[in-house]
Amino acid sequence: MTVHSIPARAGTIAVRRDATLQTLTLAVENMRCGGCIRSVERAALSIPGVASARANLAAKRVSVVLQDGRASEADVIAALGEAGFAAAPMQTVKPGAETARESALLRRVAIAGFAAMNIMLLSVSVWSGRAGDMDQSLITLFCWLSALIALPTVTYAGQPFYASALSALKGRRLNMDVPISLAVILATAMSLYQTLRGSDQVYFDAAVTLLFFLLIGRYIDEHLRVRARGEAQNLLSLQSGIATLIGDGGALRPVPAHALTAGDKVLIGTGERIPADGLILTGSGAIDQSLITGETTPMAVTPGAQVYAGTLSLGSTLMVQVTAADTATLLAEIGRLMAAAEQGKARYRRLADRAAEIYAPAVHGLGAATFIGWLAVGAPWQTALTYAIAVLIVACPCALALAVPAVQIAAANRLFRRGIVIKAADGLERVAEANMVAFDKTGTLTFGRPQLLNGAMVPDDVLEAAAGLAVASKHPYAQAIVAEARNRNIAVSAPEGVEETPGRGLLRALPRGEERLGSAEWCGIAAKDGASEVWYARDWQAPVCFRFADALRSDAAEVVAECKRRGYPVALLSGDRKSAVETAACASGIVTWQGELTPAHKIDWLADSAKQGQKVLMVGDGLNDAPALAAAYASISPANAADISQRAADFVFQGERLSPILEVLSTAKRARNLALQNFGVAFCYNIIAVPFAMAGYVTPLIAAVVMSTSSILVTLNAARLAGSGKS
């Protein structure tokens, strides 16, 4: 639950000031259209005790103000659920802090823009006036006016660059912001001096325009980061869901899963995910641990057994006492491995940083050379310094600083439209360098939940009847039967008179006799009781067997083939039994596979590949994949992955299909090419412009023109990525 300040404009709503108000922020998964905004707000407002509701479509969140404590978070979530929206409380403490920084940047952009426009207006007058009959006193007045606008702007709007340059210098490094800050500050100071002398060689317009363009690039970068982080938080929040807490005196109360503390007792129904690590107090049954270990065969549990968050309960209703997470040996082990993997991974140096490392010393060198050169040939120091500043401004990395952010936002927009969230800022650059793809099996290459295997052998009428029973249950097998019936366009009626005995099966009394759906024993069949089958029996008919297995995602084989076609070797790494892994590998066309791998083995495998020069893109979802995702060169996980894995991955994709992986690979490649092209444009421009500046031919007018042209050029080039291939 997140409590933060009430939005500034909530004052327009009739709210009693003395009332106790509490603001919640909920992530709403499927709010996608304009009409949804109204539905979400109406649903929330329909609850008594809700003072106001405000949906944010871009962030896919809703802020709800609760009054007097008459409504709770769970009430709001339930109301939204009835309206057809999956909602979950945000897990982060303060969603406001990031957006505040973003709007602070936008404010600087606006002020720099305002100043740039007005100074340019004055500068153009001066430039054109010089050719005509403009009075010298008027020129001086215009220069003073420019100074009046430029000085506060440079002081205020340039702060992000100065701060970053200072911290870089303190760490004895050079980054892009050092030449930027130097150029802006030197140009402003020199222009002020020239204005005092009554010269019109002033660069106020260049300094401020430079800031304006660079701030746009910086804002885009920040905006992207905030949005990616927000989407990732939404996904994580939606996954954790609601737990049923057994309160004092046995009263049941829905609470957000992340609010559980050690010692709490929770009730877990059939087919529900276990919300927190704990010990089983009562109840027994089977636990599907595929998200944790990759093992698809359910494990039998009895009271006293340890269960882990994220696993799926298949048996009867369990009462679980929550234990502290760090006592769990498996989780502790995974945490240790992840910390080691992240430490061992060399910090990736971003493309822009690498460019800055070459660029910054070169620009400083050229500037200094210009200054010393002109002094040496006997020019006055003012002239020499003016020419040196012209070099700094003309060479200044406007194009360079825009080159990468412009491409990144185009790429991110393209991926967002296809349901892919970029989590790591440098993820795109690393994926572009990957030269091998490694998949996990359970939940990644496969759906991670049972699918009906022998659906084709079951006649329609039996399927219809079985689905009519199954629809009453939340057991994954029952849901797979219902899904199969819906696939075959069989109408599934609402269940009436169906009784469920958790962990065993379903029963309904019909006029002609009983019908049962469940284990072989439940249906009274003396068959070998396979773990992954369900029988349907009617008193007047022979029983029918339904077999289940975790099936491959529909496009798994295609995606693997396409990866190979594009020249990526493909490997399959799984913690599941070898036979199961081999089957999946054959079906999807993967030759290199390994089964029964522990998380540590997966890391070893990745380390070996890295030694052979492979940069592996790891695709995985389970808790057991989390260390591998952190250790791999780049990583992707599906949106239904364990939350620790989503945190570790560079990208998260939504949907049932694997094709987003191909989209990520190709978009990353194209983004890299476009960024390199942009660097090329910036380089060519510098090759031409810098010698002129060094020779002293660049006037403030020329500096303004070439700077703007190169910036627009790189932005247009980046826009090509967003424009092509609409979804």
């Binding site: 404009r9 405000r54 305002f114 007005n118």
Partner: protein, 64 residues
């Protein structure tokens, strides 16, 4: 030339007005949900509804 004495302040004032309008819009949260704002403009609920009271206005051109 005397025209400049009031033309320049007028130009700066109008530009400043745009800047202030933008900063006000930013502060009042109108840039928080640019996607949603596009749809809210199409709502035909009466303005007495407390929720629609917070409808953002369309962006104005005040970048300078």
């Amino acid at each position: 030339m005397t025209a400049l004495a009031w033309l320049i302040p007028a130009a700066l004032f109008l530009g400043g007005l745009g800047l202030v309008a933008f900063l006000w819009a930013l502060r009042s949260g109108q840039f928080e949900d640019l996607e949603g704002a596009a749809y809210r403009a199409l709502e035909d609920d009466p303005p007495s509804d407390p929720v629609s009271r917070r409808d953002p206005e369309p962006q104005s051109s005040e970048r300078g």
